[in-house]
């Protein structure tokens, strides 16, 4: 039914056959309902953030449903590098789509050492820097201070030849300033954005709903803020932007392309609908066809 439309997109040196991929931490290659064929039809595969050493994560409860989305205070219970190499990387060998590894670190040195180690693996196409996990005090630091952000990316680039994707925190006054800083420091791709820091309180039990007290908000309730941030940043930065936050449907994804994103990640909507990424890939093709566009590139940043 769909005529041939071109869904492929180049994010700098990263070539995707379509612009839809999972968001880190909401998808696990070890625990997915999708079969191999379905996984190979995604734009890319991404890992949960890994760290140089094992991290436990936060005490429960880690999840709270909000009015249009959810909060999580998982806190990045990351696998250490060795575990990753032994147990996860082999599972990724099998796929014919780009593999993106998300990294979290305690310090610039920590990030750099991990990047250096990951650099040795052919199979890994890109490193995503989780700058902004709001559940870690130190994580927030990277994402909300532009000098530290710039320095981190600059140092990191010296340690890896992989494509570097800087996943920004949305908890900032001026996303454009952060995006420009990342670009200048050498990031290849900007991801807008990680979760908003939020809190919910149980007025019956008189305790926070999350074990960590505060957590990251994802889902449709915050999508309009993300769309605005993509739109703002895309007027100024030249490197590609990946949009993430609150996508549940083709229409939501299209908003991000029109605002200036070249690709999208889908996070917590996978929980409710494990096929949502597959549906969106098909939906984008259908939209382009209907609107008589030849390529998804034609709609990136159409809204000025």
């Amino acid at each position: 039914m769909n005529n041939k439309v071109d869904l492929s997109i180049n994010l700098g040196n990263l070539q995707l056959k379509n612009p839809v991929m999972p968001a880190s931490g909401t998808f696990d290659i070890r625990d997915t309902i999708l079969n191999k064929e379905q996984l190979n039809s995604l734009g890319a595969i991404i890992t949960k953030s890994i760290a140089s050493h094992k991290r436990l994560g936060n005490p429960g409860p880690r999840i709270w449903e909000t009015e249009a989305g959810m909060m999580n205070a998982v806190g990045i219970p990351a696998e250490g590098f060795e575990y990753f190499k032994e147990n996860i990387l082999p599972l990724l060998e099998d796929f014919c789509v780009p593999i993106i590894v998300s990294m979290v670190g305690d310090s610039i040195t920590d990030f750099c050492q991990l990047a250096k180690k990951l650099d040795n693996f052919e199979k890994i196409s890109a490193l995503e820097i989780n700058l902004s996990c709001p559940n870690l005090n130190d994580g927030l630091y990277f994402g909300t201070n532009k000098d530290v952000l710039g320095d981190l990316i600059y140092q990191l680039k010296k340690n890896t030849g992989k494509v570097v994707m800087a996943k920004l925190s949305p908890n900032v006054t001026d996303i454009t300033e952060m995006a420009l800083t990342a670009e200048e420091a050498g990031a290849d791709i900007i991801i807008i954005a990680n979760t908003f820091l939020g809190m919910a309180i149980d007025s019956e039990k008189l305790i926070p709903r999350l074990g960590n007290k505060v957590g990251g908000i994802s889902g449709p309730g915050i999508r309009p803020i993300i769309v605005r941030m993509i739109w703002e940043a895309s007027q100024r930065v030249k490197i590609p932007i990946v949009g993430v936050g609150g996508i549940t449907s083709t229409r939501d994804a299209l908003e991000m392309f029109l605002a200036g994103a070249s690709a999208v990640q889908v996070g917590s909507a996978n929980f409710s609908n494990p096929y949502v990424m597959l549906n969106i890939i098909e939906g984008i093709a259908g939209y382009l066809n209907k609107k008589k566009y030849k390529s998804v590139k034609d709609i990136v940043g159409l809204i000025k």
Binding site: D31, I33, G57, G60, P61, A68, S272, N273
Partner: protein, 267 residues
């Protein structure tokens, strides 16, 4: 734990029946052959009868009855919030979305002997399929049920015929010291020197703590089925952890059934 042989599926199920049992308790029967076929006692499904823009997450529910041949299963659920409220309005032929079967089910002892099932409130839902399977296997079943109020006591009708002995207490009119139904279990262990191959508990950490104490003295195998708030139900989000002697474990993946002695029950 018996590991799920198949990975969970994402399917649409059809409501065959939904009826109010009493108070806020409902039983819903759902046709979903691909799930029913592989469902094991102790496993659960993630269910939604709503759009993602209405309620964002699916809700976890244990299998209450499994009919693999007919391709259907039942859930016993309590109306406590938005999701179960919407679920309670289900009518025949409605569609639900399901991810399942999720998690690891119960293992039954290798030996033929006695097992004890301890459930509080809705916890009985999780243990019923185990009783059915245990009975089939020729095990002798002792059931211990507890609830807040007499009319909320679930399961005697279903568990009765399966059990050789059934005990119950309610908070409003309890029998047994201190109101804990597990005191009957203690009595049996102490006086009759009844030996249990395994004890299974669901629905109360307080009762589980008591069983843990007894376990230390009488050395039976014991299993607890736990609940935590869930994002994905399939192990991907790391959202549903509980604390164990091995560190955080996911209820949806390593559980929901855990060896009682591995779980850190305080709080």
């Amino acid at each position: 734990m018996k590991s799920a042989e198949n990975k969970p599926l994402f399917v649409t199920g059809k409501v065959l029946e939904n009826r109010n049992i009493n108070g806020d308790y409902f039983e819903i029967v759902i046709e979903a052959p691909d799930i029913a076929r592989n469902a094991r006692p102790g496993q659960f499904v993630m269910l939604s009868r709503w759009n993602i823009n209405n309620l964002f997450l699916k809700r976890p529910f244990s299998f209450y009855q499994i009919d693999a041949e007919q391709g259907r299963f039942a859930i016993l659920y309590k109306k406590i919030g938005k999701g179960t409220e919407i679920l309670s309005q289900s009518k025949k032929a409605d569609q639900v979305e399901l991810i399942g079967s999720c998690g690891n089910g119960f293992s039954l002892p290798e030996n033929v002997g006695k097992i004890a099932l301890v459930a509080r409130g809705i916890g009985v839902a999780t243990l019923l399929p185990l009783a059915i399977e245990g009975k089939k296997k020729g095990l002798e079943i002792y059931s211990f049920l507890s609830a807040r109020e007499k009319n909320l006591l679930l399961g005697p009708d279903k568990l009765g015929p399966l059990s050789s002995h059934i005990f119950y207490t309610t908070d409003d009119d309890w029998k047994g010291t201190d109101g804990k139904v597990t005191f009957f279990l203690e009595e049996l262990l102490k006086n009759n020197r009844t030996d249990f191959e395994a004890v299974y508990v669901c629905g109360s950490k307080r009762l589980a703590r008591h069983i843990r104490e007894l376990q230390k003295e009488y050395h039976f195998a014991a299993y607890i089925s736990l609940e935590e708030r869930m994002g994905c139900g399939i192990g991907a989000c790391k959202g549903c952890v509980i604390n164990t002697i091995y560190g955080y474990q996911r209820v949806c993946k390593e559980g929901p059934v855990f060896p009682l002695e591995e779980v850190i029950l305080n709080e």
